[in-house]
Symmetry: C2
């Protein structure tokens, strides 16, 4: 039933949740026996992102004259770009008929329709933990600008923005990059967050995230850092040891409403979060992602509060976690936050 | 708020789901910077399970005179035990007040109450993929017998049985072992499966798993192996490439109703599944776990159908999967099943 499309969204008949079978990136069955961690270290010579300055095909470019230290000298980078957004060469989603359900026996599936872009920063060896607040802000501005553009495309119900750092976190290339995937279904984790936030609002008349932000500010024990517009904290119920969240203080469901001032302060907050984790855990692999409202307009998600979650790979999810959905964190978020607060940046 | 207990169940205020903060196994904050993969290879001399034959504290023992090949000779093992169940020395759950919710600000938590046991087989270097069907049946019988015993304890709402193989799958010891955790809450993944199965039953009057088993038997493309009482197949909507499930043909929500004949045939089916994955993927790390009904009696889960899921570590869950809950499988389950069917055992 696999068509010529890159991928297929298949529905779990029990839970109703969607998964993706991506055969556009397919490997032969016996390829799965080989390298489980595709890349651990990669010289710039073989990095596909190193040739992006010769590539005119960028969807988005942020200019910036940059210098790299080279011994005692500073070497100016070729060209003036510092960040480019390009199409993913091996997309997980592609063209097709969106939101058309097909059936085979009791099962349902759709074409895996969507857009898959890559946000690449200029320096091969300069990870987000090493970037300045201003550099991180350039990345966040690119996220917002691409979000605003992708929101206007057809068949887009949700836009996922995420960053994988390190092979243990699933990064297939060492060169720092983030990914943006716009898809035609609302993902299950987002549905659950929206439902939970909506239920809390119905019961209390308040935003559940505002409630947590307010209480955590008074309590103090889970706060790592804050500036005028953002807080950086460990959540009361983390999925993993040293999980960190960045919350905007202004209540809005919509990430894309970030103002220029907020972009600068979000850059500062994300810099603080990632740099502290980097020092505390000696350069851990990590993932971060943005949780925001679905793209379709409507007041029905007015109770939601967008935010960013950072999950360092401090443990491997094993049979209990995978089989139950209950995650075990081996340090309390209060102890993790205290440790991260104490890091000197 | 952390008491003297080993762990705390904390509720995610947004989703209502429980997570565990386990400080009984706690490490100091800066320990998290060290070894992410605790054990990759471990000689028998330092393996704590190698001294179990001197230990009279087993909760459960399966006898069996066993011989190990040693060059041209066969060496008889010390003692006659082949499988022992012991208490986990580093339990994730322990004593406490069960099901009593405490609050701090808007947040809710409980003591992490439960029982955590380890099922150890005799041979240090003989993993399940290398065991005979009869040996695997001894393990399944131990699961069932301990399940029946733990079901009678107080504060037990769900019993999770799982096996981690390989450091990449979170196994902290190389010596083959499974774990049984009895806890006082119903895990979110189980709640969702029960709700999905219940919804399907309400709409169609049929068991969703029986429906899939029936259709898959006719369709054939996802079937790997079957015997009189069990099928081994790849699910239509897998979480990971090469995911395999073992289903009993007899409809029952309750794993613990396994008969002696079914135990033998479940041993055969699990042997087929794990041995084929082992050959196909060249000894992959994997997790397997049993999904069964909660322990509390009641006809409300009569629609459910227990089963076993095997998830080989063919990929690392990265930002998209962790951030959305949508898993991407890079081979279709039909291609994976065809490959696994063709493996000669």
């Amino acid at each position: 039933m696999m068509s010529e499309n890159i991928s297929e969204l298949r529905q779990d008949l029990v839970t109703g949740e969607w998964i993706v079978v991506a055969t556009g990136r397919a490997r032969r069955p016996d390829d799965f026996a080989k390298a489980k961690h595709p890349i651990t270290s990669q010289p710039p010579e073989t990095c596909p992102f190193e040739t992006l300055h010769e590539n005119a095909q960028a969807i988005y470019t942020a200019e910036g004259k940059r210098f790299l230290p080279d011994g005692g000298n500073r070497v100016e980078l070729d060209g003036t770009w510092w960040l480019k957004v390009v199409s993913n060469k091996y997309p997980a989603f592609g063209q097709g008929e969106c939101a058309v359900e097909h059936a085979v026996g009791p099962y349902r599936f759709q074409d895996g329709v969507g857009v898959h872009e890559v946000v690449v920063t200029r320096d091969h060896a300069r990870s987000i933990a090493e970037m300045s607040p201003g550099e991180v802000a350039v990345i966040i501005r690119a996220y917002r600008d691409r979000y605003l553009a992708l929101k206007e495309e057809g068949c887009v119900e949700y836009i996922s923005i995420f960053h994988n750092h390190g092979a243990d976190a699933g990064a297939s290339l060492e060169h720092p990059h983030s990914q943006i995937i716009a898809i035609s279904v609302i993902p299950p984790d987002i549905s659950r967050s929206l439902a939970g936030s909506g239920g809390y609002f119905a019961r209390t008349g308040k935003c559940v995230h505002c409630t947590m932000i307010e209480f955590d500010a008074i309590d103090g024990s889970r706060i790592i850092y804050e500036n005028q517009d953002f807080t950086v904290s460990c959540p009361f119920a983390p999925r993993q040891a040293f999980e960190v969240r960045v919350f905007p203080k202004r209540h809005t469901p919509y990430f894309e409403t970030l103002t220029e001032r907020e972009i600068a302060l979000a850059g500062d907050a994300l810099h603080q979060a990632v740099a502290r984790l980097g020092r505390a855990l000696a350069g851990p692999a990590y993932n971060f992602f943005i949780h925001t409202a679905p793209t379709a307009d409507g007041q029905s998600v007015a109770h939601y509060h967008w935010h960013l979650e950072i999950i360092p790979k401090t443990a491997v999810w094993a049979g209990f976690e995978i089989g139950t959905g209950i995650e075990i964190s081996t340090i309390s978020p209060e102890a993790a936050a205290e440790f991260l607060r104490g890091i000197l940046l």
